[in-house]
Amino acid sequence: MVCDPVEDAVWTQLGAMGRKRLITDSFQVVKRQRRDPDTKEGSLQPEAVPVPAESPTDSSLHPAQLEMLKQFDLSWEYGPCTGITRLQRWERAESLGLSPPLMVRETLLEHEGDPSFMHCLWRDYPL
């Protein structure tokens, strides 16, 4: 290898493939309030959009159902979705006469107790 110390420093900075080194490579970010201890956890990069950590087995089994629930979260007619469970939001929409889709409720009752189903899209973010 090259023995010049300056070049050496430059070489190590760039790394093998010119990849930028981030602080999160050395210090992993641990998210608070982890409900799934067995999920794979990627390091949180402040600029990039974080990947919602879902249990790999569940998401592969019911991608269509989770997508439907995600659409239910994102539809503005039923009010805000953060801070309450999907079932609470469904029941609120029902009592206010907004006729939310029954499929959503059935899906939620099937998977009661599973946080990736019960809680809304933004569950990993505090308030």
């Binding site: 503005w76 009010g79 801070g83 609120r92 308030l127």
Partner: protein
Amino acid sequence: MFSEQAARTAQGLLAPPSAEASTFARVPISTYTNCSQHFRLGERSFNRQYAHIYATRLIQMRPLLLERARQKWGSGIAVRKLCELQTAEKCCIVGTLFKSMQLQPSILREISEEHNLLPQPSRTKYIHQSDELILEDELQRIKLEGAVDIQKLVTGTILALYGSEREDGRFVVEDHCFADLPRQLPRRGPSTDRFVLLVSGLGLGGGSGESFLGMQLLVDVVTGQLGAEGEQSCAAQISRVILAGNLLSQNTQNKDTINKAKYLTKKTQAASVEAVKMLDEILLQLSASVPVDVMPGEFDPTNYTLPQQPLHHCMFPLAGAYSTLQLVTNPYQADIDGVRFLGTSGQNVNDIFKYSSMEDYLEILEWTLHVGHLSPTAPDTLGCYPFYKTDPFIFTDCPHVYFCGNAPRFQSKELTGVDGQQVLLVTIPDFSATQTACLINLRNLTCQPISFSGFSADEDEGEMEISH
């Protein structure tokens, strides 16, 4: 009430003592139901934002407003959402009002380093000429202009506006309407005279003992220990007493001890401890004789956010032994002898007073009834619990008696709604300042003040009077 009876039996005071003492049995309460369940909070979770309460408020009130709008401007009007607005098209929009006020205390401005500002001094009114009104619905907001009284309206009101959008993006308002009074259940009042006494602002622990004599006179009148037989028989017709908030004085909220470190204040007792003991003794005298409903107020030891939960019964070891003592929420709703009472300890009216040009407490009280919401400024400037399912402050049915406590003076008015509702509006004055309470006759829904005054330093002849 008292004066006619008193004149007739005044000679009774100077008569020699009789063999048997005359007793007067208090009128029994025939029906009482506490309807404040929706103001009780079970487990409290603050992990929510206030967007939910605003969303449910709009969704719940929108159908009422559309109905009123169609009644007022014709059933053929175009109702548009803000995202569907087209320029120069006359239409009706419904949404939540937001008033951006320059003088509104903002925590962000206070802690902003670059401005280096001192905290804003507290004012009585925070309105300013440059305030602007903005209407918001679920998706968009739009600035308002035209025939809308910017100074009078406050944030959080839901209303319907008729007008058109201009090219520059502002909505020019031609007319507006509110949800107005809801339907009223028929009143099945008693056939004989029965009175409910409303008092607020006892202000115990205030440091000055001026109001103590008045308070003791009040208790003695209600328990029938004052006056001749005429007055006592009248007092027997008082079937209930409602204490509407601020039982403790503002002085018990001693800012110095609250902000001091705990080790410095270890041996000092909070001022509210003594005050609560005094309150317990007064409630003991009252509840031994008459059913009492105690509502908490702004300075009372309960939670700060609306709806305030009842005071804890462990604070009243003496009076708590009586089942006639009822500790209730603020706001409070109850059916007393077939008459629906609804009232607050005055925080809602006080908050609207600060952010609106309306000067009169009775006017503000009437306005909240027309708007269809108990306190539209919650949660913006008045603390409120983050409800998510429903907004419990929306009027579901019209009360027969609507009161607010801790007003600067006594006022009452009979209001007739568009659908024939009859409401008695009462602003109860602060007892520690005015020594006045209110008596409401349940038979014909009339209200009269009753005031007590004792010896004062500058009077030549010490005169005790009970005037009404």
